[in-house]
Symmetry: C2
């Protein structure tokens, strides 16, 4: 499982769209705070592999391109740990 | 915008995986309660159009195949209205 503290340290580029605490002000983006880690991990892997192609998928794919599996697990653990 | 009350009336098939109030017990599925309606609508449309292909996308595609745009908007409004 990922490490939330490490995930927080890797979340700088997520904040612009997903908010400082995983809560969004722009309604086209999803809130992440309190989302299930396993789902977040699967979603990030899907973006990375090009298995989501609409919405912000191209943006997401670029952002996650350089993330390792451990990075993705850490980010998922971090956002899952936040209060919705 | 969708109608939350109508959305609730259309949510019977969502409950099995996404929980009675949009909160999930199985960690591979996302919580929906309090998610942004615009994001939920985009996600459902993406599943319907086959623009998500991994995770539970095939299951989701089958579930949303017969939903109209209005149905999707109502469901998005309903889940967005729930407390996270």
């Amino acid at each position: 499982a990922g490490d939330p503290a490490l995930g927080k340290s890797k979340s700088a580029t997520c904040v612009a769209c997903h908010g400082a605490e995983g809560k969004v002000s722009v309604p086209m983006y999803p809130n992440l705070a309190g989302q299930n880690a396993m789902y977040l991990e699967q979603a990030l892997q899907s973006y990375k592999k090009g298995e989501r192609t609409s919405g912000q998928a191209q943006v997401m794919r670029a952002y996650v391109a350089n993330l390792s599996d451990a990075d993705i697990a850490d980010l998922a653990a971090y956002y899952a740990s936040l209060k919705p």
